[in-house]
């Protein structure tokens, strides 16, 4: 699932004021890379990540995912791409509070139309692979921050996506659990998954084998 972005622009219209968040962004990500997008808050890095994750569309320019122009795809196709090929990890975990850990992870499988029993099995395997075999039936509010993020990562990987997108994944964690989460990403990257981490923390960026700086909507290779 190679990523190829060509002279991409993103602007928001707020009343009669137009804010250019991304300006003429062009870059490629090859399969299996561990990429860090680094920039201060408000630099447009989250917007870039949302476009890569097919949650948002560019105002201008093209985004090829695995050679396909995503601009021509409709809601259902984009949703299917998010479901099967992209795993999201957020700073605030974004677990559904009314669901157990298992049910949260299962959700991704259920949206991919696999049989419920298979979805449950895969969800359990994903949780076990992240060392959460004793937390399967826990509600999110019964879990620690590190555990929550591991559940969120389990949810991101349960459909075996080729791309993991993480937006400040350690931002809500202490340094020790943050370290653990980064180790998980390293492991996933070794398995051959493309990992893209958005962060403002240069220390985290050091984990990556490639760093891209973004400032005021302009992307520059480090």
């Amino acid at each position: 699932m190679g990523i190829n972005i060509q002279s991409l622009y993103k602007s928001y219209i707020n009343g009669d004021e137009t804010t250019e968040v991304l300006k003429d962004v062009s870059f490629q990500v090859e399969d299996g890379q561990f990429l860090a997008i680094v920039g201060p808050s408000g630099s447009g890095k989250s917007t870039l990540m949302n476009i890569i994750g097919c949650l948002d569309r560019p105002t201008r320019g093209t985004y090829y995912l695995a050679g396909q122009d995503t601009g021509s795809l409709g809601d259902r196709r984009l949703a299917a791409i998010r479901n099967k090929h992209i795993g999201f990890v957020f700073q605030s975990f974004n677990l559904l509070p009314q669901y157990t850990a298992l049910e949260n992870v299962e959700l991704a499988g259920l949206y991919s139309n696999i049989p419920p029993r298979t979805a449950r099995e895969k969800a359990r395997e994903a949780l076990i692979s992240l060392g959460l075999e004793n937390r399967v039936k826990y509600m999110p509010n019964q879990l620690s921050g590190g555990q929550k993020q591991r559940v969120a990562i389990a949810r991101a990987i349960v459909n075996s996506p080729s791309i993991i997108l993480a937006d400040e994944p350690t931002g809500s964690l202490d340094s020790k659990t943050g370290r653990e989460v980064l180790d998980i990403f390293n492991g996933l990257n070794r398995e051959g998954k493309t990992v893209i981490v958005v962060t403002h923390d240069p220390a985290i960026a050091q984990e990556a084998n490639r760093i891209v700086n973004i400032k005021d909507g302009i992307v520059r290779e480090a």
């Binding site: 949703a79 949206y111 139309n113």
Partner: protein
């Protein structure tokens, strides 16, 4: 399976906010409850009236003085006489009409009613008496406790013989078997030949009154005493269900030879039932319609709560979209939730309505109820429609949320 996830998510969120879900459902519960209650009361009245009319005997024709159009005929001039009885202000039906109809084609029995008021010496009150032909025993199904009904001999000879109701027997003879005993009407002795007994007080007679207080006398005796010729109505029993039409024709032919067209009206028992059922049907539908307004209010309650829910769960919608839900998934999820509210509310309302309809007669014995399957079906269908109708807008709103905005919301 995505649909399964929609169901699970709906059930989870309904249980997550139990009180809120229940209060939202309450609108639908009350709506369905009132629809079921009111229609079952209407249906109960209909059944009661039908069974009463049928208890008077089957295959009957009624002849009334004057012209009455029970069911307006299509294409008829609106200027036609509607109530000749009042126009003529004269009743021309006589007991001779009864005699003329007896034994004719398709007719098995002919009776009549002559209502009277007589002084009951024993109790020192005026009492209602009813003059009938001996054929009344065939026309009306009497429940006789003791003795027999008036016979032809007594009618022809204008004898002072009486068939009395159970209540009359209690007050006159302390409830003992009084066959052969006498009581005084207008200072003259009348011999008891039969005693009627009805268990249910609501078993009303042909005039809509309690059969247990009746005093039946030979019509000839009463007419003779009152120096009158006219009777208030004639009842004709057809030989069978198939011969009702023949009997009706015979009655018309004979009556037209003896009277002018506007002096009498022939009504079939079935026509009467149809007319009554039409009126009661409209009444029931009207009552149900009024109750259905509360269902509408309940539906607005659902829409309101669903809109709140969409706002509260904006972030959840964003997460679901990031995980791979498309617009349709979100739409279905919220729609199912709204329909769940209305269907569960509808079922609870149905349970409450049916038990209410069952319990009501034990609290108010005068009220009869009957839950009709049609009403149940329509009520449930309506609940479903309310859920869909008022659920679509919030669900569309949810499905159209921009995932970025949704994820950003706190």
């Amino acid at each position: 399976m995505r649909v399964q996830e929609s169901f699970r998510s709906s059930i989870k969120s309904l249980f997550h906010n139990k009180l809120r879900s229940f209060l939202t459902m309450l609108g639908i519960i009350i709506g369905i409850f009132s629809v079921i209650m009111l229609t079952s009361i209407g249906e109960g009245i209909k059944n009661q009236v039908t069974s009463q009319v049928e208890s008077l005997g089957a295959n009957l024709l009624y002849i009334f003085p004057g012209k009455v159009e029970l069911v307006p005929r299509r294409g008829q001039s609106k200027l036609g006489v509607r109530n000749g009885g009042f126009v003529e202000s004269k009743n021309t039906l006589t007991y001779n009409d009864v005699l003329a109809l007896k034994g004719k084609t398709g007719i098995s029995a002919v009776s009549c009613i002559f209502p009277g008021v007589d002084w009951l010496d024993d109790l020192k009150i005026f009492t209602s008496t009813t003059g009938v032909d001996e054929d009344d025993a065939i026309v009306t199904k009497f429940n006789l406790k003791y003795g027999r009904f008036i016979n032809k001999n007594e009618r022809v000879r204008k004898e002072r013989a009486a068939v009395i109701g159970d209540q009359a027997n209690k007050e006159l003879f302390k409830g003992k078997n009084s066959i052969g005993k006498t009581f005084k009407l207008n200072g003259k002795d009348y011999k008891v030949i039969g005693i009627l007994q009805y268990v249910k007080p609501e078993n009303l007679g042909p005039q809509g009154d309690d059969m247990n207080v009746k005093i039946y006398l030979p019509v000839t005796e009463m007419l003779d005493r009152a120096k009158q010729k006219n009777i208030s109505q004639i009842m004709v029993k057809a030989a069978s269900a198939q011969s009702v039409g023949t009997a009706e024709k015979t009655v018309r032919d004979i009556m037209l030879k003896r009277h002018r067209d506007i002096e009498f009206t022939v009504i079939k028992q079935q026509d009467m039932l149809t007319a009554i059922n039409n009126i009661l049907g409209i009444l029931t539908a009207g009552l149900g319609g009024i109750a259905a307004i509360s269902l509408l209010v309940g539906g607005i309650g659902i829409m309101n709560i669903m809109l709140v829910s969409v706002t509260e769960r904006t972030r959840e919608i964003g997460v679901r979209k990031a995980i791979g839900a498309n617009r349709r998934d979100i739409l279905i999820q919220f729609l199912i939730e709204a329909v769940f509210l209305s269907i569960i509310g509808g079922l609870l309302g149905l349970a409450a309505g049916i038990s209410g309809a069952r319990l009501l007669p034990s609290v108010f014995p005068m009220i009869h109820t009957a839950v009709s399957f049609t009403a149940v079906l329509i009520a449930l269908l309506f609940a479903l429609l309310v859920g869909v109708f008022f659920g679509v807008y919030p669900a569309r709103l949810a499905s159209k949320l921009d995932p970025i905005e949704a994820l950003r919301s706190e």
